[in-house]
Symmetry: C2
Subunit: 349 residues, 2 copies
């Protein structure tokens, strides 16, 4: 399965399959002088005996968000340069979203930009590996330093998902369900029916692929997020605040944010578009920590939302709501009103 972008130039494709990693990488490397592998250290540890056995002398990156510090980024660049990286070299980044973000950003600025391939190893990265956003973290917030920089290709070997811990599957599934909600009611119904009793990775594969297609459509039409790409932030406004406050995985926080967005959609549109208790139970059964919504403090959430680079306007916060599944809408909500909505959600639980 191969899905390609549709830009005027500089297109790339994401290849989704099982067990094709080495062959797929080889298909790219022919035209380059050297290949440098940047690999999440945990991923390398887990797979160096088999899937990654063909790789010698990788540059290991700290696992997860630790790879996104400024210091780790500096180390990555100087290590590449110490190895004598050249303009006609290829960088291959193997790991989840954080590795892709930091490795992609390093590729974008070493020698003013080399080609790179991302090999996502998590379910969550089906989302983050598309769209060309790269970034590291500042002490003032996540993803504040980075570049829009497209990969030369994405190779998504689903064999990597076999070793994911449950929390990572829940996290990645958050973006799968988000993409379904941005597609249509039918896709949501089908996905809920399929996963009501638990997430079977093999069975949700078609929805992962459909999610990739949905995301691809948005980023094709609005790469720099000036318009409809914003819809992909469904669940992310409150989600990011919850992620920061409760230190839970990204996609798990996004699910909490999605539930809040459904709630707020009903409020804004002033009728019950979505059956809130139905989705609450669905998420709760799957193991998402929905009771966090009972604990949140509206003031604190608003303060965190205001720090987000997307919501620094003083009076309002941008919010993605749904008029129905498949029909998103970007609105500005007065922060005072948003605080009231958050309290309503809290009390409704």
């Amino acid at each position: 399965m191969k899905i390609s972008t549709d830009y005027n130039s500089g297109n790339y494709s994401i290849e989704v399959a099982r067990g094709m990693l080495k062959d797929s990488i080889t298909a790219y490397t022919g035209g380059y002088s050297q290949v440098h592998y940047l690999i999440d250290e945990k991923v390398f540890e887990l797979h160096k005996g088999r899937m990654l056995a063909f790789i010698d002398h990788p540059i290991l990156m700290g696992s997860g968000e630790t790879s996104k510090s400024f210091e780790a980024f500096h180390y990555l660049l100087e290590t590449l340069l110490a190895k004598g990286v050249k303009r006609n070299d290829l960088i291959v980044v193997i790991g989840g979203g954080a590795a892709g973000d930091a490795g992609g950003f390093a590729a974008s600025c070493v020698l003013r930009g080399l080609d790179y391939i991302h090999v996502p190893t998590t379910l969550l990265a089906h989302d983050s590996s598309i769209g060309g956003k790269t970034a590291i973290n500042s002490k003032h917030g996540k993803n504040l330093i980075g570049a829009f920089y497209r990969p030369a290709g994405v190779i998504y070997d689903l064999e990597f998902l076999n070793t994911l811990p449950d929390s990572e599957i829940l996290s990645g599934f958050g973006e799968v369900i988000k993409h379904a909600m941005l597609k249509n009611q039918e896709t949501v119904d089908h996905l809920v029916a399929l996963t009501r009793n638990g997430i079977d990775l093999r069975r949700i594969e078609p929805f992962v692929i459909s999610g990739i297609e949905t995301k691809m459509q948005y980023v094709n039409r609005d790469e720099n997020e000036s318009d409809i790409r914003k819809y992909l932030n469904l669940g992310h406004t409150l989600g990011h605040a919850v992620e920061y406050k409760y230190k839970i995985p990204h996609g798990i926080a996004v699910v909490i944010g999605i539930y809040a967005a459904l709630h707020i959609s009903n409020q804004v549109e002033q009728y019950e578009i979505f059956d809130l208790s139905y989705y609450y139970c669905f998420f709760d059964n799957l193991g998402y920590p929905m009771d966090i919504l009972k604990d949140i403090d509206a003031e604190e959430m608003l303060s965190l939302i205001s720090k987000d680079k997307k919501n620094q306007n003083t009076q309002t916060a941008g919010y993605v709501i749904l008029k129905e599944f498949g029909e998103a809408k970007f609105i500005e909500i007065e922060k005072e009103t948003l605080g009231k909505y958050i309290n309503d959600i809290k009390e409704s639980i």
Copy 2:
């Protein structure tokens, strides 16, 4: 005088005049929420009483190359973020080539890229402010980390040049003469005649503008330096090595490199295209330290040339020579041969 790029999209112009700085900046700032000024500390000290009196709370950058360390770059980004920089803000970078490089790179990656304007304050920066190359230094070499990132505009107020020390004028003039040599014989003759007894900034203004136009033509046609933009490296291959070894200003080292390139052009083409002693005397009279050529060690120069990101191929080095003024040619020279040429130059002085 306004000269514009001619890309398919994302064009910008360089405005060259005297005393228009504040008005020109104001013409840009209307559409932005806030403006952040990044200013070379020496430039601010010299001009805060008059030309820059309208600027409050600038972010000061270390002067010259000190602003291009990784630490200075990190400080710049965190300072912008601490000030609450937003997506719709404008960054204005005021300073020479180094400030433009580091400030432009910071603009390229804060919040994944904000608009920026460069206000060059040196003669040398008539060159570096065009073409969208930004960068900082690695411990492994100069300009190894950066981005191709176009400014939203360049405002070149020649009043800044009044406070330049002689060494900076000599340095900037190196790129002026390079651009003349890339244009045609007539321009070179005219410029040499005009400056034989010293460089008068007001009188060479037409040549600065012509140099900007020449550079603009090259970067318009080959922004990412895969082809003819390489010609702009005339004098830079040996120049960079000399700059590194003797710690002299960039454009002064480039003049030494240009003289070497004329010498090598004669050798490669096997007839006396250029009257070497004529140009040697011209440069020597103006105050360029041409006797460095007597001191250089060919082996050491080759080793430095091999570290350049443009010349990491093991057997040969890329070199720009001239078949005549206005007709550059990019050739690969065996490093052994190049060493011989360098020794020939050394012995001929």
